[in-house]
């Protein structure tokens, strides 16, 4: 019985590591400067064909990015110092063949744009440059932190009996030097 359970227990133990390793599909670049932590991140591969198809269907499509500033804790769960959500939304009008783009940070609209360019849509949805998301006021000098980003898409075009979870992950470590 114990012999049978051991592999399962081992799998459960290493599952977070495996998931983390397999989920680094978001490239993250943090930069602490001028009292802010600027976070640049982009989704590897940009828009997938499925997402392009979804956008072309006229559905309001959004990419949600949950960004967390965290600090590692030995032998315990890492501590989340701050968290924010950046959402990029696009809606394509098949009649005018134009994309209505918008970005919001924690529900507050940050920018909006109309474009006919698919490449622009791809950049808008999957690439973010130097977003000033966190303050460095509470950061400890010379301490190591990391930014973790989880990307979610909506609506989803797949189905499984367990609809929760999923998403793509990425993280990057930095040392705060004031």
């Amino acid at each position: 019985m114990i012999r049978r359970a051991l592999p399962l227990l081992a799998l459960i133990a290493v599952a977070p590591l495996l998931l983390g390793a397999a989920g680094d599909a978001v490239r993250v670049t943090p930069l602490a400067r001028d009292g802010q932590v600027y976070v640049s991140f982009s989704l590897d591969g940009g828009l997938t064909p499925d997402m392009r198809e979804t956008i072309r269907s006229g559905l309001q499509t959004s990419y949600g990015y949950d960004i967390e500033l965290r600090r590692g804790v030995t032998i315990w769960f890492d501590r989340t110092l701050a968290a924010t959500t950046v959402t990029a939304t696009v809606q394509f009008d098949n009649l005018t063949r134009r994309h209505q783009l918008s970005r919001s940070i924690d529900g507050r609209v940050d920018a909006a744009e109309v474009t006919e360019s698919d490449e622009e849509v791809g950049r808008w949805m999957t690439s973010f440059e130097r977003l000033p998301l966190f303050s460095t006021a509470d950061l400890e000098p010379n301490a190591e932190y990391y930014v973790r980003v989880r990307a979610r898409t909506r609506p989803r075009s797949t189905w499984s009996l367990w609809p929760w979870g999923g998403g793509q992950w990425g993280h990057a470590t930095f040392t705060f030097i004031p």
Binding site: D50, E53, T54, R56, S57, G58, L59, Q60, D93, N94, L95, T96, R97, R154, P155, R156, S157, T158, W159, S160, L161, W162, P163
Partner: protein
């Protein structure tokens, strides 16, 4: 010795009846109201599910896939977990019950399994077939002709809009180019109205608006100069959208366009182009607008909407498939949960009364006759429960009657036991010997007196009486028993003389047959008394009377005889010598014999007129020491040994009579030993029997067994010259003191007299 009598009854009082148990609280699943509520909830959920399913077409695909799908997944998983929990719980319960060998566990499991199987198989089949049907149906939605039609329609509409967009932009660019030489910065631009009027008059455009780019115009950077509208343009065009467009172009972003829905319907397609001065500087913006009628715009929108709906369905095909499968899955799970629940309920419904009856049967078997089964239904099980309760009631009543009878029996038994102990105590204490013989002729009881008198012990109990009494000395008892065994009338007491340990024992015995209710002989009782002392006393009394008469009759003539002889002697004192010698010789003989007779008569008289002892507290050791001191120095070859107990208490005796007893015994011993040997005088204290013992033992020739019993009878003597009254007087003195005297052989030789005196 008596054997203990066995208890007549083994009935024990019943254990105290338990308090009537409160009916156990029904489980939730057995509560009809809750059951009904559960069914209502299930039906309501089912109806709600149907309603939701019927309205799915009105929901947006996004709502279906993001809200409904999640809700259905949650519901499905919850029901699945619930079903697995219920099944796992019941499987574990089944295993436990089977291990405990509880009744109906297997039956209940089978019933649930059958019901579950009956519903599981068709439900799964329906789920699979339904899922496949849904998959095929959704695949059929997205066939090639439909795709082509919708795509073409959308392309037509979009191309039309694109063509109009290009036209408007071209017109805006053309007009902007014509205005390149116009100073749009001046407050009044003369002739501009005239230049733009034809653009509208020819109905190529519905609206032309001109903006100047100015640095102080605020964030919009542009300020309106004029607008020229076609009369056919419906009202409601908003300048704000044109200004926004112009502002955007003024930044140098190039041509751009916008679509503005009108309030009355239709859309205004706007195109903006920058007005550049000859030096290339942007001095203004021209916004040209064309009106797309409401019907055209609506149709275009509908075509596009149909196309988008189609594409959205195709994009969300998998989640939508999941929604419908989740519906099916939910229905399946509801059926399974319902079937499981119903199976458990039915199993409980069937087995619970039987289980309750089984438990109640065990309770009643354990003596708890007040246990009842609650009647839960009015069907056959209810009737069975009612019959069981009636049976239990009758059992309880019978039990109460039995308990009353047992109590009466116990009381009688106790009474009988008391009587038995009373009789047993009497039998143990009385001097009368009692032996009971059962119908098989075996001895059943022997009391102490019987054992002592007959010399039989407890080992005689259980043995055949004929075997026990086959001993030669007990043979007269066999004869008596035989006569009683014939069942005849009670014979009068018979005197039976036995010889025990060389002594004659006289018993007055009577044997009585024990007859049962039908006259059947069930045994016999042999009762006998030791009459040896009585006979002995009678003999002594007779001898005392003889002695008194002899003393009286003989003593009176002795004196005249002696006087006459002395007179003859005196008378013939002068006679011739031969005569005188003869007379002297004869008279002397007469006088001597008369003296001897007088001594004999005195002893007789003394035996007959023995005075009552005058007892005083006496130290026996000192008394014996004083008495034995009389013999000091009298016999050279005789030695006395004194062994007096130190703890001997003071005894009330008549010292003179006791001294005479000791002297008599010692004299007899001295004479028997021919004045040679050792005479031992001992005293012992027997505190258990409150006795003081005096033992006088010698190492002489001893006494034969035949003489031993006669030894204490008057006029029995082994001496050549003895009256035979010495030991008779000794026995009488001891008897007058309440004691006894016995003679046995001394070890290794000689005679041993033992005197027992109460103390």
């Amino acid at each position: 010795m008596a054997t203990p009598l066995r208890a007549a009854s083994s009935i024990r009082p019943a254990p105290p009846a338990p308090q009537p148990a409160r009916p156990p609280r029904r489980p939730i699943r057995d509560n009809p109201r809750l059951l009904l509520a559960g069914i209502v909830v299930l039906v309501a959920a089912f109806v709600g599910l149907l309603a939701l399913a019927s309205r799915t077409t009105s929901f947006s695909p996004d709502f279906l896939t993001e809200v409904v799908l999640y809700a259905l997944s949650v519901a499905d998983l919850t029901m699945l977990v619930g079903l697995v929990f219920v099944l796992a719980r019941n499987i574990i319960k089944l295993l436990v019950e089977r291990r405990r060998a509880l009744p109906f566990a297997r039956f209940r499991a089978k019933l649930v399994a059958v019901l579950l199987g009956l519903t599981l198989i068709p439900s799964i089949l329906v789920l699979l077939v339904g899922s496949e049907l849904i998959r095929n149906s959704t695949d059929r939605w997205f066939n090639a002709p439909m795709d082509e039609v919708l795509s073409s329609a959308n392309r037509i509409a979009a191309d039309y809009y694109a063509e109009r967009q290009r036209f408007v932009l071209a017109q805006a660019a053309r007009i902007a180019k014509t205005l390149g030489d116009v100073d749009l910065q001046s407050a009044n631009v003369p002739g501009l109205q005239d230049r733009l009027g034809p653009e509208v008059a020819e109905d190529r455009l519905k609206l032309v608006e001109v903006f100047r780019v100015t640095a102080d115009a605020g964030p919009s950077r542009v300020a309106p100069i004029l607008d020229v509208a076609s009369p056919s343009l419906p009202p409601g065009a908003l300048r704000a959208s044109a200004e926004r467009l112009a502002s955007h172009v003024a930044t140098g972003a190039g041509e751009t366009w916008a679509l503005e829905p009108m309030a009355i319907g239709g859309e205004l397609l706007r195109g903006a182009a920058a007005v550049r001065a000859p030096d290339g500087r942007i001095t203004g913006v021209v916004v040209a607008s064309d009106y797309l009628t409401g019907e055209l715009a609506a149709r275009s929108r509908r075509m596009t909407a149909a196309y988008e709906d189609y594409r959205q369905l195709r994009v969300l095909k998998a989640p939508l498939f999941g929604v419908y499968v989740s519906f099916f899955l939910m229905v399946t799970l509801m059926i399974l949960v319902g079937a499981t629940w119903m199976g458990l309920y039915l199993a409980k419904r069937i087995t619970r009364p039987v289980q309750l009856l089984a438990v109640a049967a065990r309770e009643i078997g354990a003596g708890h006759l007040d246990h009842r089964v609650e009647r839960e239904t009015a069907d056959e099980f209810g009737a069975l429960v009612e019959a069981f309760n009636s049976m239990a009631e009758e059992l309880a009543t019978s039990r109460q009657d039995l308990e009353r009878s047992a109590i009466d029996l116990e009381r009688k038994h106790l009474e009988g036991e008391g009587r038995r102990r009373y009789i047993e105590t009497i039998l143990e204490r009385i001097a009368t010997g009692v032996i009971s013989i059962d119908e098989r002729g075996a001895i059943s009881t022997v009391n102490d007196a019987a054992g002592r008198l007959l010399g039989v012990g407890a080992e005689a109990v259980g043995r055949q009486a004929t075997e026990v009494f086959a001993r030669e000395d007990l043979s007269p008892m066999s004869t008596l028993l035989r006569s009683a065994a014939t069942g005849g009338e009670e014979s009068p007491p018979q005197e039976i003389a036995l010889t025990r340990d060389g002594r004659d024992v006289h018993l007055a015995a009577v044997a009585t047959a024990l007859t049962g209710d039908g006259g059947h002989v069930e045994g016999a009782v042999l009762v006998f008394d030791d009459v040896t002392p009585l006979i002995r006393s009678q003999k002594v009394a007779a001898w005392r009377e003889v002695a008194r008469r002899l003393a009286h009759e003989i003593k009176n003539p002795l004196t005249p005889i002696q006087l006459s002889a002395e007179r003859l002697q005196r008378h013939f004192g002068t006679a011739p010598p031969p005569t005188r010698a003869l007379v002297d010789e004869c008279t002397t003989t007469i006088v001597n014999e008369v003296e001897s007779l007088k001594g004999l008569v005195d002893e007789f008289s003394q035996f007959a007129r023995m005075p009552s002892p005058k007892t005083v507290p006496t130290v026996l050791g000192a008394l014996l020491d004083d008495t034995l001191a009389l013999y000091d120095g009298l016999f050279a070859e005789l030695r006395f040994e004194r062994r007096f107990a130190a703890d001997l208490p003071i005894v009330r005796v008549d010292p003179e009579q006791m001294r005479r007893v000791v002297i008599n015994l010692v004299d007899n011993a001295v004479e028997a030993m021919e004045r040679r040997g050792v005479i031992t005088v001992e005293t012992h204290h027997d505190p258990a029997n409150h006795l003081a013992r005096i033992i006088v033992a010698d190492d002489g020739p001893g006494i034969t067994t035949a003489d031993r019993e006669k030894l204490f009878m008057p006029y029995f003597s082994t001496k050549r010259r003895g009256s035979g009254l010495g030991l008779a007087i000794v026995r009488r003195i001891i008897a007058e003191h309440g004691g006894s005297i016995d003679v046995t052989d001394n070890a290794p030789r000689g005679t041993r007299f033992t005197i027992e005196l109460p103390c």
